[in-house]
């Protein structure tokens, strides 16, 4: 009971010395207030930008209701998921298998290609700062372009089909892997390297026996993680004609074959869940349960 009543008294009653404290430590209190004002201004700016954004994209509650009304009809038309015919089902299954193959092959190739660049971009391997900065910026540029844009470019080079998608995955992952690998190499413990150099090992041997054994599990974990995320990416790469299940997904949506659309989405969800499960099990087996 006592507790309850005291929680209703004001802060000032409970701390009669508050006023005195404010006088004595004016600086601390004013500092806090200045930070508070800054924080409120920032929040106000962020909220008004958000408001402007909503206005800009033409948001009105009516539109949201209308749109979701229509979307409700679409969702209703999606039920039950149905491939249409057995032939279609087989075609879609093949699309999923193709997607998985693209993701796997692309991820592995990208990892192999990126490994030497990871070393080039690592400060503790290449001490020449011009080289490692140049390689870093090069990798940044590649990473700045989305996989779908790469797919669009590769379709122009090797034509429509899954091969263009594979090349798109390789190029965009190459940039990401290069950066991650170089960070893993920089984080490696230098003591084994020093030990090998001290006992007469060459530079190459110090990398082979001093660094590689340390970073290999980390790298494998990252590759597996990217394989997971690439299975998601690859499902949509077909939107620009670069193979995989995305092609059928786009086609069925554009031709309003909603039951088939939902069948494909279900198929993708199940596949992605299965891959996530397998790959996370493998990852834990390789590196334990630490985050990538």
């Amino acid at each position: 009971m006592n507790n309850r009543s005291s929680s209703q008294t004001s802060l000032r009653d409970r701390f009669p010395e508050l006023g005195e404290m404010r006088g004595r430590y004016a600086e601390a209190f004013i500092g806090n207030r200045r930070d508070e004002v800054k924080a409120y201004l920032l929040i106000a700016a962020l909220i008004s930008l958000y408001g402007f954004g909503l206005y800009y994209v033409g948001f009105t509650p009516m539109m949201l209701i209308n749109g979701f009304g229509k979307f409700g009809i679409v969702v209703k038309a999606m039920m039950p998921p149905d491939p249409g015919s057995w032939d279609n089902a087989i075609v879609f299954m093949r699309g999923v298998i193709e997607t998985l193959a693209m993701a796997f092959f692309g991820t592995i190739c990208a990892a192999f290609l990126a490994l030497p660049f990871g070393f080039l971009a690592a400060r503790n391997i290449v001490s020449n700062s011009i080289i490692h900065h140049a390689v870093r910026r090069f990798l940044d540029i590649i990473r700045g372009i989305d996989t779908l844009i790469w797919a669009l470019i590769w379709v122009g080079v090797v034509g429509l089909g899954p091969f263009a998608g594979v090349l798109a995955i390789i190029t965009s992952d190459f940039g990401a892997f290069g950066k991650l690998f170089s960070e893993a190499i920089e984080a490696a413990d230098q003591k084994p390297v020093e030990g090998i150099v001290a006992s007469g090992g060459s530079r190459l041997e110090s990398i082979r026996f001093g660094i590689i054994p340390q970073i290999l599990p980390v790298l494998l974990g990252q590759v597996l993680y990217f394989f997971e995320s690439n299975t998601r990416t690859t499902t949509i790469i077909g939107i620009v004609g670069a193979g995989g299940i995305g092609l059928y997904l786009t086609e069925t949506i554009r031709t309003y074959l909603w039951e088939e659309t939902s069948f494909i989405i279900m198929l993708v969800l199940v596949t992605v869940a299965a891959i996530d499960f397998i790959s996370s099990k493998l990852r834990v087996a390789i590196i334990g349960s630490r985050p990538v």
Binding site: Y50, M63, I149, G161, I265, L269
Partner: protein, 300 residues
């Protein structure tokens, strides 16, 4: 005296018989490890070959067409002479005003989508986490909903929303928001799982309601982590928003795919450079903010 000196740690060589046994066992262990490695390598190579077959990888096509790849980038860069540098560049960037406006639209789509998604994720994450006691079925619902939003790619949502909301940036915003809520919701709920439970228990013991426990015990602990994750997601969403236009959901992607399809190489190059520079600037800026957040975290 000096002649008798003997190191205290002199190692006696093992008797031959024991030595031989050790050596052979070492060789066996090594051979077994090598066999395992070889087996693993063979399996991986087989998988790669199967995958290459499934993905219609065609080295011949690659080799005969590869020259087109550098050609593509060569075609993208216009002739810029040193003496006429300014004029060449201004001619190359003839549509700069239009392109920058579309790029700003892209950023706005990413921003509104990220904020909306983060707000939804913020609310749902408390229901999906283990540490804030909520009833079993609402936890189950929240988790399945987040999982669904996360697994369906944003551009697939955009494809469907374009049908029901019409062309324009709004379906893009909505698609990003939904996908973001799924992705952030999972990360947020993991952060909440790992909070220090003592403040929550303290508040509960003094009779605070569930929402008060969330507000005064959980939120102060998770806010900086949430901000950091949201910033990371914003980076990802800027890239995502840049391609939303491929399916008609607004932003610079619409123009890019049009230029690619019409073979306006030089314009493709110009637009790509704008996208890359923007993405790099956003990455750099958010990284700076995140480092400051982490530094603050470390101080308190």
């Amino acid at each position: 005296m000096q002649g008798d000196f003997e190191l205290a740690t002199t190692i006696q060589p093992l008797p031959d018989e024991q030595n031989a046994r050790l050596q052979s066992q070492y060789a066996m262990a090594l051979a077994q490890k090598r066999r395992q490695m070889l087996l693993g390598a063979i399996i991986v190579v087989l998988l790669i070959l199967i995958a290459a077959f499934g993905a219609e990888v065609d080295p011949h096509k690659f080799v005969t067409n590869f020259w087109k790849f550098p050609r593509y980038f060569f075609d993208m860069t216009p002739h810029v002479g040193l003496s006429t540098f300014y004029d060449d560049v201004t001619e190359w960037y003839w549509g700069l005003g239009k392109w920058l406006k579309l790029m700003a639209e892209t950023l706005l789509i990413a921003y509104v989508g990220t904020v909306t998604g983060a707000v939804i994720a913020f609310v749902l994450a408390f229901f999906a986490s283990n540490s804030m006691e909520v009833s079993g079925w609402s936890k189950f619902l929240a988790r399945r909903f987040l999982e669904f939003c996360r697994t369906v790619p944003d551009i697939v949502f955009a494809l469907m929303f374009v049908v029901s909301f019409g062309l324009g940036p709004f379906p893009g915003v909505l698609a990003l928001a939904i996908h973001t809520s799924g992705a952030l919701g999972k990360l947020f709920s993991e952060v909440i799982d790992n909070i220090d439970m003592k403040p929550v228990e303290g508040l509960r013991a003094s009779g605070a309601s569930w929402s008060q426990q969330v507000r005064f015990a959980a939120v102060p602990q998770v806010l900086s982590n949430f901000t950091s994750y949201t910033l990371l997601r914003f980076e990802i969403n800027v890239r995502g928003a840049a391609v939303m236009g491929f399916v008609g959901a607004g932003g610079i992607g619409q123009l890019l795919i049009e230029y690619v399809r019409k073979f306006y190489y030089v314009d493709v190059g110009a637009v790509l450079i704008i996208i890359i520079l923007t993405v790099m600037m956003i990455d750099y800026g958010t990284e700076k903010i995140r480092h400051r957040l982490i530094a603050k975290e470390g101080m308190s």
